[in-house]
């Protein structure tokens, strides 16, 4: 409650409803990574806003989980750039490998899949976010399986590009800027 009050205090009086997002986040971190209905009702009460309004916000953002998720929560981006780079195949591969559909959790509680909107890493599309944090990038139907198996075995695979790219460097390695730099007389480093 103290933390909640701290969030509410950031907003002018009468505009306390603005604190709905941090409060939802708080509820999620305090409750095993998901927000139960009772929490939304309570937030509505604290902020004096209709519960449907809390529900609207909670359902709009894919970062809020309204159901318990598996140990590994895979958030698969299916927005246009990822989709153009083959996210549909990646999704299919995951579904086949885990035996679940988008939005479901495996029986052993290890994996959950949900589709999300753009994760802001389109340069390395297609992209999966793991437990709301690390991104696995440059996925293909093949290397995504390796990632999944890695996660399953308990050894967390290295996040970032799965094709060995350094951050978002061009696929052919560092090229154009290099040449340009050389032309400009910069010494090779």
């Amino acid at each position: 409650m103290k933390k909640a009050e701290a969030h509410i205090a950031k907003y002018p009086k009468g505009k306390q409803a603005s604190a709905v997002m941090p409060l939802l986040d708080l509820a999620q971190t305090q409750h095993d990574g998901w927000i139960p209905e009772a929490a939304m009702e309570e937030i509505g009460r604290i902020l004096d806003m209709p519960r449907i309004k809390v529900f609207e916000v909670a359902t709009f953002y894919t970062m809020y989980n309204l159901q318990p998720k598996g140990e590994h929560h895979l958030q698969l981006c299916t927005t246009t750039p990822c989709w153009l780079s083959g996210s549909a195949e990646v999704v299919k591969a995951c579904e086949k490998h885990l035996g679940i559909k988008m939005g479901e959790t495996t029986a052993d509680g290890l994996f959950s899949m949900s589709d999300v909107e753009c994760l802001g890493a389109c340069v390395n599309a297609p992209v999966i976010q793991h437990n709301g944090d690390d991104l696995y990038e440059d996925l293909t139907p093949k290397n995504v399986i390796e990632v999944l198996d890695g996660l399953k075995s308990g050894k967390k695979p290295k996040h970032g590009s799965q094709t060995g790219r350094t951050t978002s460097m061009g696929v052919k390695g560092a090229t154009c800027l290099h040449e340009l730099a050389e032309k400009a007389g910069v010494k090779k480093c």
Binding site: P50, R51, I52, K53, E56, T59, F60, E117
Partner: protein, 675 residues
């Protein structure tokens, strides 16, 4: 004031007017889905795109305020093309199931698709489907048809005052939903059906009943409360199928209550369609002549009284009054609920502020009334005013569930007395208010000290400067549609209880009186349209017409006379009410002096000039009224417990019975679990 050109026509508008409104002033219609002139503007459907000179992109005309020198084209190729695109997108996920959709024929999407739609679809992918929602017994949902205009959400928030609908999810998964699953618990929920531009929200009781082009429309007046909402009656053959609102900014704007809209099925059940006469203790069918003869024989030499019911029209009231006077009656009553108040001064029993006038108020005191159940549209106005100006509202009476915040001041008359003495926080509010008003309900008058309370309320009104030039904040809230008309015609003689002593009683649709109080030996004539409580006690029954079956005048609580029009004929032998009285008068040898409706109306005007100006409220002169006296300490008791059943028509309605079961019997806020 900005001056702009739309389609080559110049127009000057108030600052802040949107392009769509300016176009309307010129009679140019711009297509729209999300924009609704009584709701806020979200600009999310994009159907209203127009071309504006020097603007690189088409502009949403509902949200764009007019600026000086703007040059707008609503029908140019660019506008047309933009709308074609919007329409194509809207139809991507629409099921196109018009043949099995109740909205077809009056669907905005259908109409505008004809104007802007493509004749075939380029969309070969899968359409999405959305699960239907359970909104209770009145509103049917087919959510796959929804185009996410959010009108329903805004209506709930802004007009009905129930935050139950919301926009859930996002993108492809966005849908209209309720918190988990919950019924729409508003007395205005039926308006969702009109507000929804497509067939996503339709009428459940009316489902698959008729197509709009089969219906005959009659513009009329509602009588199920005293507001006098303007309605349109849609009938096919001899049957009224549905009731819709008709715009009247002064009365109901464009809304009606669920009772007004959905009680129509009550017009078909329990009808009295032929005269009855009691023989050897049993009511038996008779002819009109036999029934009249029985009356003539049995009232001879008796002391006769008459009571006017809540649904009676002014034509029949005046006819009854003239007949009773001719028979020498001294017992006339129109207050079935035995409310006691001074009936001699119109200012004392009218809603003087007028319904539209509420919007100017800045403090409201509710005394013994729950406007939400007694006059849902008066309540909607109060809420509208609160929403716009956050006015202060105080309540004297029981605790109740209103859809705006109120300050509960007390339960009975002594709180009102305290207020008169300037005590309490609300006294401060009232004395600071510019336009304070008081609304006095039947809950405060339906008691022996009603007269004293009325006088007390008058003094409160005078003390807080509620009555002055240009503002009259004293109001009485009536529940019965017939009441103000009957008062205006002077249908009160004797005290409210004396009718229990007469030995012949004429009931004009009066079903809400305590029947057991009628003298056991009294001869009772019941004239009305439903076989409800009083008909069972009657010795002679004369079948009359319901409000959809006659041309009649009603005066609403503001004192506004309005005309109801006949949509269908009364069943079988039933007749228009004033004609029955006219025919009876001849048999009794006291022939009334009018033979046509026009003549009756002349008679009305002679009795009270207000009937000369239909549709207009004439401000009442402020005088002293009520009788000062001691008030009892007992708390006020509200007159209406069940909004859905208040009169013979609603009691005969299956839909209203379902509403009662769903909203009144079971705790209101209980969510229904579904799936």
């Amino acid at each position: 004031m900005p001056k702009l050109t739309i389609d080559g026509m110049e127009v000057t508008v108030e600052p802040g007017t949107s392009i769509i409104q300016a176009a309307e002033q010129l009679g140019i219609e711009i297509p729209r889905f999300c924009y609704h002139d009584k709701l806020s503007v979200p600009a999310n459907c994009r159907m209203c795109l127009v071309e504006v000179e020097k603007s690189p992109k088409p502009v949403a005309s509902c949200a764009m305020p007019c600026a000086d020198g703007m040059n707008v084209f609503t029908k140019s190729a660019i506008a047309q093309k933009a709308r074609n695109g919007v329409m194509e997108m809207l139809l991507v996920n629409h099921p196109l199931d018009c043949p099995i959709c109740d909205q077809a024929g009056e669907c905005d999407l259908q109409d505008q698709a004809v104007a802007y739609g493509f004749d075939r679809s380029r969309y070969n992918e899968e359409k999405r489907a959305v699960k239907d929602k359970e909104l209770g017994p009145l509103v049917k949902t087919v959510m796959t048809r929804c185009i996410q205009c959010t009108r329903c959400v805004r209506f709930g928030e802004e007009i009905a005052g129930v935050n139950e609908l919301g926009v859930i999810g996002r993108g492809e998964h966005l849908e209209i939903g309720t918190y988990v699953e919950q019924m729409a618990t508003s007395e205005l929920s039926g308006n969702l059906i009109d507000v929804c531009p497509v067939g996503a929200l339709t009428s459940k009781p009316y489902a698959f009943t008729a197509r709009p082009w089969e219906l005959r429309r009659t513009e009329s007046i509602d009588v199920l409360d005293a507001v006098g909402s303007n309605i349109r009656i849609d009938a096919r053959g001899g049957e009224v199928l549905r009731i819709l609102p008709r715009l009247n900014e002064d009365v109901n704007e464009e809304w009606i209550s669920d009772k007004t809209r959905f009680a129509v099925d009550g017009l078909k059940n329990q009808r009295l369609d032929m005269p009855y006469v009691r023989h050897h203790g049993k009511l038996q069918p008779a002819t009109w002549q036999l029934a009249f003869d029985a009356i003539a024989e049995n009232i001879k030499g008796k002391k006769i009284g008459a009571i006017v019911g809540d649904l009676a029209d002014c034509e029949s009231i005046i006819a009854l009054k003239d007949l009773m006077k001719a028979l020498g009656s001294l017992n006339l009553e129109c207050r079935q609920d035995a409310a006691q108040f001074d009936t001699s001064q119109p200012a004392g029993y009218l809603f003087n502020t007028t319904i539209a006038g509420i919007e100017k108020a800045d403090a409201i005191l509710l005394v013994g009334t729950n406007p939400r159940t007694e006059a849902a549209l008066v309540n909607a106005r109060i809420r509208k005013t609160w929403l716009a100006n956050r006015i202060k509202i105080g309540v004297i009476g029981p605790q109740m569930d209103l859809n705006y915040p109120v300050k509960h001041l007390g339960a009975g008359p002594e709180t009102l007395e305290e207020l008169l003495n300037g005590k309490g926080a609300f006294a401060d509010v009232l004395s600071k208010a510019k336009n304070p008003m008081i609304i006095l309900g039947a809950g405060a008058l339906k008691r022996a000290d009603g007269m004293a309370i009325q006088a007390l309320a008058r003094k409160v009104a005078e003390k807080y400067n509620m009555v002055r030039d240009g503002w009259n904040g004293f109001n009485m809230l009536h529940i019965a549609a017939s009441r103000v008309g009957a008062l205006a015609l002077g249908f009160v003689e004797g005290t409210p209880e004396t009718w229990s002593k007469v030995n012949a009683l004429y009931l004009l649709g009066a079903d809400e009186i305590p029947i057991d109080k009628i003298d056991a030996k009294a001869f009772v004539i019941y004239q009305g349209h439903h076989g409800d409580k009083a008909a069972a006690r009657a010795d002679v029954i004369l079948p009359g017409a319901a409000y959809t079956e006659k041309n009649a005048t009603y005066v609403n609580l503001e004192g506004r006379p309005q005309t109801a029009r006949q949509a269908v004929f009364p069943p079988l032998d039933a007749r228009e009410d004033w004609k029955i009285l006219r025919a009876l008068s001849e048999v009794l040898g006291k022939t009334l002096s009018y033979d046509t409706l026009a003549q009756v109306r002349e008679r009305l005007v002679k009795e009270n000039a207000l009937f000369g100006a239909i549709g207009v409220v004439q401000p009442a002169k402020w005088t002293s009224f009520g009788k000062e006296g001691k008030c009892d300490k007992s708390p006020f008791v509200l007159p209406v417990n069940n909004f859905y059943m208040t009169d013979p028509i609603t009691r005969a309605s299956k839909t209203m019975a379902e509403c009662t079961a769903a909203f009144v019997m079971s705790p209101k806020k209980k969510a229904v679990a579904h799936g």
